[in-house]
Symmetry: C2
DNA sequence: GTGCGCAGAATATGATCAAATTTTTCAGAG
DNA sequence: CTCTGAAAAATTTGATCATATTCTGCGCAC
Protein backbone atom coordinates (compact mmCIF):
# COMPACT_ATOMS: atom_id res chain seq x y z
CA UNK A 1 0.00 0.00 0.00
CA UNK A 2 2.60 2.54 1.09
CA UNK A 3 0.65 5.51 -0.07
CA UNK A 4 2.60 8.00 1.96
CA UNK A 5 5.84 7.06 0.41
CA UNK A 6 7.66 8.32 -2.59
CA UNK A 7 6.89 6.42 -5.74
CA UNK A 8 10.11 4.89 -6.89
CA UNK A 9 8.84 4.22 -10.39
CA UNK A 10 9.03 7.92 -11.14
CA UNK A 11 12.79 7.79 -10.88
CA UNK A 12 13.93 4.20 -10.83
CA UNK A 13 17.63 5.04 -10.95
CA UNK A 14 17.70 7.28 -7.91
CA UNK A 15 19.24 5.54 -4.95
CA UNK A 16 16.58 5.05 -2.35
CA UNK A 17 17.27 6.88 0.89
CA UNK A 18 18.41 4.65 3.71
CA UNK A 19 15.62 5.74 6.02
CA UNK A 20 13.11 4.61 3.43
CA UNK A 21 14.70 1.22 3.06
CA UNK A 22 14.97 0.79 6.82
CA UNK A 23 11.34 1.79 7.23
CA UNK A 24 10.20 -0.81 4.74
CA UNK A 25 12.25 -3.54 6.34
CA UNK A 26 10.84 -2.63 9.73
CA UNK A 27 7.35 -2.57 8.27
CA UNK A 28 7.78 -6.07 6.92
CA UNK A 29 9.10 -7.28 10.24
CA UNK A 30 5.96 -5.99 11.93
CA UNK A 31 3.49 -6.88 9.24
CA UNK A 32 4.57 -10.47 8.86
CA UNK A 33 4.91 -11.34 12.50
CA UNK A 34 8.70 -11.30 12.79
CA UNK A 35 8.43 -9.12 15.87
CA UNK A 36 6.49 -10.53 18.81
CA UNK A 37 4.00 -8.45 20.80
CA UNK A 38 5.70 -7.11 23.91
CA UNK A 39 9.14 -7.36 22.37
CA UNK A 40 11.48 -4.42 22.86
CA UNK A 41 12.74 -2.65 19.75
CA UNK A 42 16.03 -0.85 20.25
CA UNK A 43 17.75 1.55 17.94
CA UNK A 44 21.08 -0.14 18.32
CA UNK A 45 19.55 -3.55 17.82
CA UNK A 46 18.10 -2.46 14.50
CA UNK A 47 21.33 -0.79 13.41
CA UNK A 48 23.02 -4.13 13.95
CA UNK A 49 20.31 -6.29 12.39
CA UNK A 50 19.66 -4.10 9.38
CA UNK A 51 23.20 -2.84 8.94
CA UNK A 52 22.07 0.78 8.89
CA UNK A 53 23.16 3.94 10.60
CA UNK A 54 21.51 5.34 13.67
CA UNK A 55 19.68 8.25 12.09
CA UNK A 56 17.71 6.25 9.50
CA UNK A 57 16.78 3.73 12.17
CA UNK A 58 15.60 6.45 14.52
CA UNK A 59 13.43 7.93 11.82
CA UNK A 60 11.92 4.61 10.89
CA UNK A 61 11.08 3.93 14.53
CA UNK A 62 9.52 7.35 14.90
CA UNK A 63 7.35 6.77 11.87
CA UNK A 64 6.26 3.43 13.21
CA UNK A 65 5.37 4.80 16.62
CA UNK A 66 3.40 7.47 14.81
CA UNK A 67 1.56 4.68 13.01
CA UNK A 68 0.75 3.02 16.31
CA UNK A 69 2.72 -0.01 15.18
CA UNK A 70 5.25 0.58 17.95
CA UNK A 71 4.61 2.21 21.25
CA UNK A 72 6.97 4.32 23.27
CA UNK A 73 6.93 3.73 26.97
CA UNK A 74 7.23 6.49 29.53
CA UNK A 75 10.91 5.75 29.86
CA UNK A 76 12.23 6.15 26.40
CA UNK A 77 11.98 2.53 25.40
CA UNK A 78 10.03 1.33 22.40
CA UNK A 79 8.13 -1.94 22.32
CA UNK A 80 5.77 -3.80 20.03
CA UNK A 81 2.39 -3.22 21.66
CA UNK A 82 0.27 -6.13 22.83
CA UNK A 83 -3.33 -6.15 21.73
CA UNK A 84 -5.94 -5.86 24.43
CA UNK A 85 -9.54 -6.88 23.92
CA UNK A 86 -10.40 -3.20 23.65
CA UNK A 87 -7.82 -2.72 20.90
CA UNK A 88 -9.19 -5.66 18.97
CA UNK A 89 -12.72 -4.33 19.25
CA UNK A 90 -11.66 -0.91 17.96
CA UNK A 91 -9.64 -2.43 15.13
CA UNK A 92 -12.58 -4.58 14.10
CA UNK A 93 -14.92 -1.59 14.19
CA UNK A 94 -12.64 0.42 11.93
CA UNK A 95 -11.83 -2.41 9.59
CA UNK A 96 -15.52 -3.14 9.09
CA UNK A 97 -16.09 0.49 8.25
CA UNK A 98 -13.13 0.92 5.95
CA UNK A 99 -12.31 -2.28 4.15
CA UNK A 100 -15.76 -3.06 2.72
CA UNK A 101 -15.87 0.51 1.46
CA UNK A 102 -12.47 0.07 -0.17
CA UNK A 103 -13.59 -3.21 -1.73
CA UNK A 104 -16.76 -1.57 -2.98
CA UNK A 105 -14.86 1.25 -4.61
CA UNK A 106 -12.26 -1.13 -5.98
CA UNK A 107 -14.92 -3.30 -7.59
CA UNK A 108 -16.16 -0.28 -9.49
CA UNK A 109 -12.74 0.64 -10.86
CA UNK A 110 -10.51 -2.39 -10.96
CA UNK A 111 -8.87 -3.19 -14.28
CA UNK A 112 -8.76 -6.69 -15.80
CA UNK A 113 -4.98 -6.74 -15.34
CA UNK A 114 -5.35 -6.02 -11.64
CA UNK A 115 -7.97 -8.76 -11.37
CA UNK A 116 -5.52 -11.21 -12.89
CA UNK A 117 -2.83 -10.09 -10.47
CA UNK A 118 -5.21 -10.69 -7.56
CA UNK A 119 -6.05 -14.12 -8.88
CA UNK A 120 -2.36 -14.97 -9.13
CA UNK A 121 -1.84 -13.67 -5.64
CA UNK A 122 -4.65 -15.86 -4.32
CA UNK A 123 -3.15 -18.87 -6.04
CA UNK A 124 0.19 -18.21 -4.41
CA UNK A 125 -1.62 -17.81 -1.10
CA UNK A 126 -3.32 -21.16 -1.45
CA UNK A 127 -0.04 -22.76 -2.35
CA UNK A 128 1.53 -21.30 0.77
CA UNK A 129 -1.34 -22.68 2.84
CA UNK A 130 -0.86 -26.12 1.29
CA UNK A 131 2.83 -26.00 2.15
CA UNK A 132 2.24 -24.75 5.67
CA UNK A 133 4.37 -21.73 4.78
CA UNK A 134 3.26 -19.18 7.35
CA UNK A 135 5.45 -16.36 6.19
CA UNK A 136 4.32 -16.92 2.62
CA UNK A 137 0.70 -17.02 3.71
CA UNK A 138 0.98 -13.74 5.61
CA UNK A 139 2.82 -12.07 2.75
CA UNK A 140 0.37 -13.13 0.08
CA UNK A 141 -2.64 -12.36 2.22
CA UNK A 142 -1.37 -8.83 2.72
CA UNK A 143 -0.56 -8.45 -0.93
CA UNK A 144 -4.02 -9.68 -1.87
CA UNK A 145 -5.86 -7.18 0.28
CA UNK A 146 -3.38 -4.44 -0.48
CA UNK A 147 -3.70 -5.00 -4.21
CA UNK A 148 -7.46 -4.95 -4.06
CA UNK A 149 -7.67 -1.82 -1.95
CA UNK A 150 -5.13 0.01 -4.09
CA UNK A 151 -7.62 -0.25 -6.94
CA UNK A 152 -10.11 1.81 -4.94
CA UNK A 153 -8.09 4.96 -5.68
CA UNK A 154 -8.72 6.29 -2.18
CA UNK A 155 -5.29 7.04 -0.71
CA UNK A 156 -6.48 8.29 2.65
CA UNK A 157 -8.72 5.30 3.33
CA UNK A 158 -5.89 3.10 2.14
CA UNK A 159 -3.27 4.68 4.39
CA UNK A 160 -5.57 4.41 7.37
CA UNK A 161 -6.31 0.76 6.68
CA UNK A 162 -2.61 0.09 6.32
CA UNK A 163 -2.02 1.41 9.79
CA UNK A 164 -4.66 -0.92 11.19
CA UNK A 165 -2.89 -3.89 9.62
CA UNK A 166 0.34 -2.76 11.22
CA UNK A 167 -1.37 -2.87 14.60
CA UNK A 168 -2.44 -6.47 14.42
CA UNK A 169 0.44 -7.74 12.30
CA UNK A 170 2.58 -8.88 15.24
CA UNK A 171 -0.30 -10.99 16.54
CA UNK A 172 -0.82 -12.86 13.27
CA UNK A 173 2.14 -15.12 13.78
CA UNK A 174 0.64 -16.19 17.08
CA UNK A 175 -2.66 -16.89 15.35
CA UNK A 176 -1.01 -18.99 12.67
CA UNK A 177 1.13 -20.78 15.18
CA UNK A 178 -2.00 -21.76 17.02
CA UNK A 179 -4.36 -22.62 14.20
CA UNK A 180 -1.95 -23.35 11.40
CA UNK A 181 -2.99 -22.09 8.02
CA UNK A 182 -5.17 -24.99 6.97
CA UNK A 183 -8.56 -24.37 8.50
CA UNK A 184 -9.17 -20.91 7.14
CA UNK A 185 -12.37 -20.93 5.09
CA UNK A 186 -11.65 -18.90 2.04
CA UNK A 187 -13.46 -15.62 1.57
CA UNK A 188 -11.06 -14.69 -1.18
CA UNK A 189 -12.75 -16.92 -3.73
CA UNK A 190 -16.06 -15.25 -2.95
CA UNK A 191 -14.39 -11.90 -3.37
CA UNK A 192 -12.84 -12.81 -6.70
CA UNK A 193 -16.22 -13.98 -7.97
CA UNK A 194 -17.81 -10.70 -6.93
CA UNK A 195 -15.09 -8.81 -8.79
CA UNK A 196 -15.55 -10.98 -11.87
CA UNK A 197 -19.29 -10.32 -11.74
CA UNK A 198 -18.68 -6.61 -11.21
CA UNK A 199 -20.80 -6.65 -8.07
CA UNK A 200 -19.50 -4.06 -5.59
CA UNK A 201 -21.96 -4.96 -2.85
CA UNK A 202 -21.04 -8.62 -2.99
CA UNK A 203 -17.36 -7.67 -2.82
CA UNK A 204 -18.03 -5.56 0.25
CA UNK A 205 -19.95 -8.42 1.88
CA UNK A 206 -17.11 -10.83 1.21
CA UNK A 207 -14.66 -8.45 2.86
CA UNK A 208 -16.91 -8.06 5.87
CA UNK A 209 -16.81 -11.82 6.24
CA UNK A 210 -13.05 -11.90 5.84
CA UNK A 211 -12.56 -9.21 8.45
CA UNK A 212 -14.90 -10.89 10.91
CA UNK A 213 -13.17 -14.20 10.43
CA UNK A 214 -9.72 -12.71 10.80
CA UNK A 215 -10.50 -10.71 13.90
CA UNK A 216 -12.30 -13.63 15.50
CA UNK A 217 -9.24 -15.78 15.07
CA UNK A 218 -6.98 -13.13 16.56
CA UNK A 219 -9.36 -12.78 19.49
CA UNK A 220 -9.48 -16.49 20.15
CA UNK A 221 -5.76 -17.00 19.77
CA UNK A 222 -4.95 -14.21 22.18
CA UNK A 223 -7.56 -15.36 24.64
CA UNK A 224 -5.91 -18.76 24.92
CA UNK A 225 -2.47 -17.42 25.75
CA UNK B 1 11.29 1.50 45.37
CA UNK B 2 10.87 4.28 47.86
CA UNK B 3 14.09 5.85 46.73
CA UNK B 4 12.98 5.85 43.13
CA UNK B 5 9.71 7.50 44.06
CA UNK B 6 11.56 10.06 46.14
CA UNK B 7 14.01 10.87 43.38
CA UNK B 8 11.34 11.35 40.76
CA UNK B 9 9.17 13.44 43.04
CA UNK B 10 12.08 15.64 43.97
CA UNK B 11 12.54 16.36 40.27
CA UNK B 12 9.01 16.65 38.93
CA UNK B 13 10.23 18.51 35.86
CA UNK B 14 11.08 15.40 33.89
CA UNK B 15 12.76 17.01 30.92
CA UNK B 16 10.71 16.32 27.84
CA UNK B 17 12.72 15.22 24.83
CA UNK B 18 13.22 17.93 22.26
CA UNK B 19 11.79 15.85 19.46
CA UNK B 20 8.54 15.56 21.39
CA UNK B 21 8.34 19.27 21.99
CA UNK B 22 9.15 20.04 18.37
CA UNK B 23 6.52 17.57 17.21
CA UNK B 24 3.86 19.23 19.32
CA UNK B 25 4.76 22.68 18.10
CA UNK B 26 4.64 21.47 14.52
CA UNK B 27 1.30 19.79 15.20
CA UNK B 28 -0.15 23.05 16.48
CA UNK B 29 1.17 24.92 13.47
CA UNK B 30 -0.67 22.49 11.21
CA UNK B 31 -3.79 22.07 13.29
CA UNK B 32 -4.47 25.75 13.73
CA UNK B 33 -3.83 26.86 10.22
CA UNK B 34 -0.44 28.51 10.70
CA UNK B 35 0.89 26.59 7.71
CA UNK B 36 -0.83 27.15 4.41
CA UNK B 37 -1.68 24.30 2.03
CA UNK B 38 1.01 24.02 -0.61
CA UNK B 39 3.60 25.68 1.58
CA UNK B 40 7.04 24.11 1.69
CA UNK B 41 8.34 22.92 5.04
CA UNK B 42 12.10 22.80 5.32
CA UNK B 43 14.22 21.33 8.05
CA UNK B 44 16.40 24.36 8.29
CA UNK B 45 13.41 26.65 8.35
CA UNK B 46 11.98 24.83 11.34
CA UNK B 47 15.31 24.72 13.15
CA UNK B 48 15.38 28.49 12.84
CA UNK B 49 11.73 29.09 13.73
CA UNK B 50 11.56 26.66 16.63
CA UNK B 51 15.11 27.09 17.86
CA UNK B 52 15.72 23.35 17.81
CA UNK B 53 18.46 21.15 16.49
CA UNK B 54 18.26 19.35 13.21
CA UNK B 55 17.70 15.83 14.48
CA UNK B 56 14.57 16.58 16.50
CA UNK B 57 13.14 18.55 13.59
CA UNK B 58 13.83 15.73 11.17
CA UNK B 59 12.03 13.28 13.41
CA UNK B 60 9.03 15.55 13.87
CA UNK B 61 8.74 16.00 10.11
CA UNK B 62 8.96 12.25 9.58
CA UNK B 63 6.18 11.67 12.05
CA UNK B 64 4.03 14.25 10.37
CA UNK B 65 4.55 12.81 6.91
CA UNK B 66 3.64 9.46 8.35
CA UNK B 67 0.43 11.06 9.63
CA UNK B 68 -0.33 12.37 6.18
CA UNK B 69 -0.18 15.89 7.58
CA UNK B 70 2.85 16.63 5.44
CA UNK B 71 3.71 15.03 2.16
CA UNK B 72 7.12 14.31 0.78
CA UNK B 73 7.53 14.88 -2.90
CA UNK B 74 9.56 12.55 -5.07
CA UNK B 75 12.50 14.88 -4.72
CA UNK B 76 13.18 15.29 -1.08
CA UNK B 77 11.04 18.31 -0.51
CA UNK B 78 8.28 18.34 2.06
CA UNK B 79 5.12 20.39 1.63
CA UNK B 80 1.78 20.89 3.32
CA UNK B 81 -0.58 18.94 1.06
CA UNK B 82 -3.49 20.67 -0.62
CA UNK B 83 -6.88 19.04 -0.29
CA UNK B 84 -8.48 17.77 -3.44
CA UNK B 85 -12.17 17.08 -3.75
CA UNK B 86 -11.37 13.39 -3.46
CA UNK B 87 -9.46 13.96 -0.21
CA UNK B 88 -12.35 15.92 1.24
CA UNK B 89 -14.77 13.18 0.33
CA UNK B 90 -12.62 10.52 1.97
CA UNK B 91 -12.10 12.63 5.06
CA UNK B 92 -15.82 13.22 5.37
CA UNK B 93 -16.53 9.52 4.97
CA UNK B 94 -14.12 8.62 7.73
CA UNK B 95 -15.13 11.40 10.05
CA UNK B 96 -18.77 10.41 9.74
CA UNK B 97 -17.85 6.86 10.62
CA UNK B 98 -15.52 7.67 13.49
CA UNK B 99 -16.59 10.81 15.27
CA UNK B 100 -20.23 9.92 15.94
CA UNK B 101 -19.02 6.62 17.32
CA UNK B 102 -16.56 8.43 19.58
CA UNK B 103 -19.29 10.80 20.73
CA UNK B 104 -21.61 7.87 21.39
CA UNK B 105 -19.03 6.10 23.50
CA UNK B 106 -18.06 9.31 25.25
CA UNK B 107 -21.67 10.02 26.18
CA UNK B 108 -21.81 6.67 27.94
CA UNK B 109 -18.70 7.29 30.01
CA UNK B 110 -18.09 10.98 30.43
CA UNK B 111 -17.70 12.26 33.98
CA UNK B 112 -19.42 15.37 35.31
CA UNK B 113 -16.04 17.09 35.64
CA UNK B 114 -15.30 16.45 31.98
CA UNK B 115 -18.75 17.76 31.05
CA UNK B 116 -17.99 20.98 32.91
CA UNK B 117 -14.66 21.27 31.14
CA UNK B 118 -16.41 20.90 27.79
CA UNK B 119 -18.93 23.55 28.74
CA UNK B 120 -16.10 25.92 29.70
CA UNK B 121 -14.40 25.14 26.44
CA UNK B 122 -17.54 25.93 24.48
CA UNK B 123 -17.91 29.22 26.33
CA UNK B 124 -14.35 30.16 25.43
CA UNK B 125 -15.10 29.16 21.86
CA UNK B 126 -18.15 31.42 21.69
CA UNK B 127 -16.16 34.26 23.16
CA UNK B 128 -13.49 33.77 20.50
CA UNK B 129 -16.20 33.85 17.83
CA UNK B 130 -17.60 37.07 19.26
CA UNK B 131 -14.14 38.63 19.19
CA UNK B 132 -13.40 37.39 15.68
CA UNK B 133 -10.37 35.57 17.12
CA UNK B 134 -9.74 32.92 14.51
CA UNK B 135 -6.80 31.29 16.23
CA UNK B 136 -8.76 31.12 19.47
CA UNK B 137 -11.76 29.69 17.65
CA UNK B 138 -9.68 26.96 16.01
CA UNK B 139 -7.92 26.14 19.25
CA UNK B 140 -11.07 25.88 21.32
CA UNK B 141 -12.93 23.99 18.65
CA UNK B 142 -10.18 21.39 18.56
CA UNK B 143 -10.03 21.23 22.33
CA UNK B 144 -13.80 20.78 22.50
CA UNK B 145 -13.87 17.84 20.13
CA UNK B 146 -10.64 16.40 21.47
CA UNK B 147 -11.88 16.61 25.03
CA UNK B 148 -15.14 14.92 24.17
CA UNK B 149 -13.54 12.12 22.19
CA UNK B 150 -10.93 11.50 24.88
CA UNK B 151 -13.79 10.52 27.17
CA UNK B 152 -14.68 7.68 24.82
CA UNK B 153 -11.69 5.71 26.09
CA UNK B 154 -10.93 4.40 22.60
CA UNK B 155 -7.31 5.33 21.89
CA UNK B 156 -7.13 3.83 18.43
CA UNK B 157 -10.26 5.56 17.17
CA UNK B 158 -9.01 8.74 18.80
CA UNK B 159 -5.57 8.58 17.20
CA UNK B 160 -7.11 7.92 13.81
CA UNK B 161 -9.49 10.84 14.16
CA UNK B 162 -6.64 13.08 15.24
CA UNK B 163 -4.83 12.28 12.03
CA UNK B 164 -7.85 13.28 9.99
CA UNK B 165 -7.95 16.64 11.73
CA UNK B 166 -4.28 17.12 10.87
CA UNK B 167 -5.17 16.63 7.22
CA UNK B 168 -7.72 19.38 7.02
CA UNK B 169 -6.19 21.68 9.64
CA UNK B 170 -4.22 23.79 7.14
CA UNK B 171 -7.39 24.48 5.19
CA UNK B 172 -9.32 25.77 8.18
CA UNK B 173 -7.64 29.12 8.21
CA UNK B 174 -8.73 29.57 4.62
CA UNK B 175 -12.29 28.67 5.60
CA UNK B 176 -12.30 31.13 8.47
CA UNK B 177 -10.70 33.80 6.35
CA UNK B 178 -13.50 33.41 3.85
CA UNK B 179 -16.51 33.06 6.09
CA UNK B 180 -15.31 34.64 9.31
CA UNK B 181 -16.35 32.88 12.46
CA UNK B 182 -19.75 34.48 12.91
CA UNK B 183 -22.13 32.48 10.77
CA UNK B 184 -21.41 29.05 12.15
CA UNK B 185 -24.63 27.57 13.51
CA UNK B 186 -23.74 25.90 16.74
CA UNK B 187 -23.98 22.13 16.95
CA UNK B 188 -22.01 22.22 20.17
CA UNK B 189 -24.98 23.35 22.22
CA UNK B 190 -26.99 20.44 20.85
CA UNK B 191 -24.14 18.15 21.77
CA UNK B 192 -23.85 19.50 25.30
CA UNK B 193 -27.57 19.00 25.79
CA UNK B 194 -27.32 15.42 24.62
CA UNK B 195 -24.48 14.83 27.07
CA UNK B 196 -26.45 16.42 29.89
CA UNK B 197 -29.41 14.20 29.05
CA UNK B 198 -27.15 11.16 28.82
CA UNK B 199 -28.41 10.42 25.32
CA UNK B 200 -25.62 8.78 23.27
CA UNK B 201 -27.62 8.64 20.06
CA UNK B 202 -28.44 12.31 20.21
CA UNK B 203 -24.78 13.08 20.84
CA UNK B 204 -23.82 11.04 17.79
CA UNK B 205 -26.43 12.85 15.68
CA UNK B 206 -25.14 16.22 16.80
CA UNK B 207 -21.63 15.24 15.79
CA UNK B 208 -22.81 14.05 12.39
CA UNK B 209 -24.31 17.49 11.90
CA UNK B 210 -21.13 19.19 13.04
CA UNK B 211 -18.99 17.12 10.70
CA UNK B 212 -21.29 17.71 7.73
CA UNK B 213 -21.32 21.41 8.41
CA UNK B 214 -17.56 21.61 8.81
CA UNK B 215 -16.75 19.63 5.72
CA UNK B 216 -19.29 21.51 3.65
CA UNK B 217 -17.64 24.77 4.59
CA UNK B 218 -14.21 23.46 3.72
CA UNK B 219 -15.53 22.24 0.40
CA UNK B 220 -17.13 25.55 -0.45
CA UNK B 221 -14.20 27.64 0.65
CA UNK B 222 -11.76 25.59 -1.40
CA UNK B 223 -14.07 25.61 -4.40
CA UNK B 224 -14.06 29.40 -4.47
CA UNK B 225 -10.29 29.77 -4.49
C1' DG C 1 18.75 23.25 -26.28
C1' DT C 2 22.41 20.81 -23.74
C1' DG C 3 25.79 20.12 -20.49
C1' DC C 4 28.52 21.96 -16.46
C1' DG C 5 29.34 23.47 -12.27
C1' DC C 6 27.59 25.96 -7.94
C1' DA C 7 24.75 27.04 -4.08
C1' DG C 8 21.75 25.27 -0.92
C1' DA C 9 19.20 21.76 1.21
C1' DA C 10 18.67 16.99 2.71
C1' DT C 11 20.82 12.69 4.13
C1' DA C 12 23.76 10.10 6.96
C1' DT C 13 27.66 9.23 10.19
C1' DG C 14 29.95 9.05 14.42
C1' DA C 15 30.96 11.41 18.64
C1' DT C 16 29.30 12.96 22.91
C1' DC C 17 26.21 13.50 26.64
C1' DA C 18 22.40 11.86 29.53
C1' DA C 19 19.32 8.52 31.34
C1' DA C 20 17.95 3.96 32.49
C1' DT C 21 18.94 -0.73 33.31
C1' DT C 22 21.77 -4.35 34.87
C1' DT C 23 25.40 -6.11 37.54
C1' DT C 24 28.36 -5.96 41.36
C1' DT C 25 29.48 -5.12 45.95
C1' DC C 26 28.88 -5.21 50.65
C1' DA C 27 26.80 -4.60 55.28
C1' DG C 28 23.82 -6.76 58.40
C1' DA C 29 20.23 -10.12 59.91
C1' DG C 30 19.32 -14.79 60.73
C1' DC D 1 28.37 -18.82 56.99
C1' DT D 2 24.71 -17.72 53.97
C1' DC D 3 21.19 -15.06 52.37
C1' DT D 4 18.87 -10.63 51.58
C1' DG D 5 18.47 -6.22 49.88
C1' DA D 6 19.95 -1.80 48.88
C1' DA D 7 23.67 1.37 47.29
C1' DA D 8 27.05 2.05 43.76
C1' DA D 9 29.61 0.94 39.65
C1' DA D 10 29.31 -0.57 34.97
C1' DT D 11 26.90 -1.20 30.87
C1' DT D 12 23.53 -0.46 27.71
C1' DT D 13 20.60 2.55 25.31
C1' DG D 14 18.51 6.90 23.89
C1' DA D 15 19.02 11.99 22.61
C1' DT D 16 21.38 15.48 20.52
C1' DC D 17 24.74 17.74 17.85
C1' DA D 18 28.52 18.94 14.54
C1' DT D 19 30.05 17.67 10.44
C1' DA D 20 30.84 15.30 6.12
C1' DT D 21 28.57 13.59 2.10
C1' DT D 22 25.05 13.37 -1.46
C1' DC D 23 21.54 15.10 -4.10
C1' DT D 24 18.53 18.67 -6.38
C1' DG D 25 17.58 22.74 -8.81
C1' DC D 26 19.17 26.58 -11.19
C1' DG D 27 21.95 29.70 -13.66
C1' DC D 28 25.25 30.11 -17.20
C1' DA D 29 28.31 29.24 -20.83
C1' DC D 30 28.50 27.05 -25.12
Amino acid sequence: MLTNEAVSSVRPLARRPAHQSVYEQLRDLILFGELAPGQAVTIQGLTRDLGAGMTPVREAIRRMTSNGALSMQGNRRVIVPELTESCIEQLEFMRKNLEPELAHRAALRITPAAKDALKACDDALNKAIALGDIRGYLTQNYRFHSGLYAAADAPILLATTDRLWLRFGPSLRVVCGRFGTANLPDKHAELLEALAAGDPDAAARAVVGDVEQGMRQIREALRDI
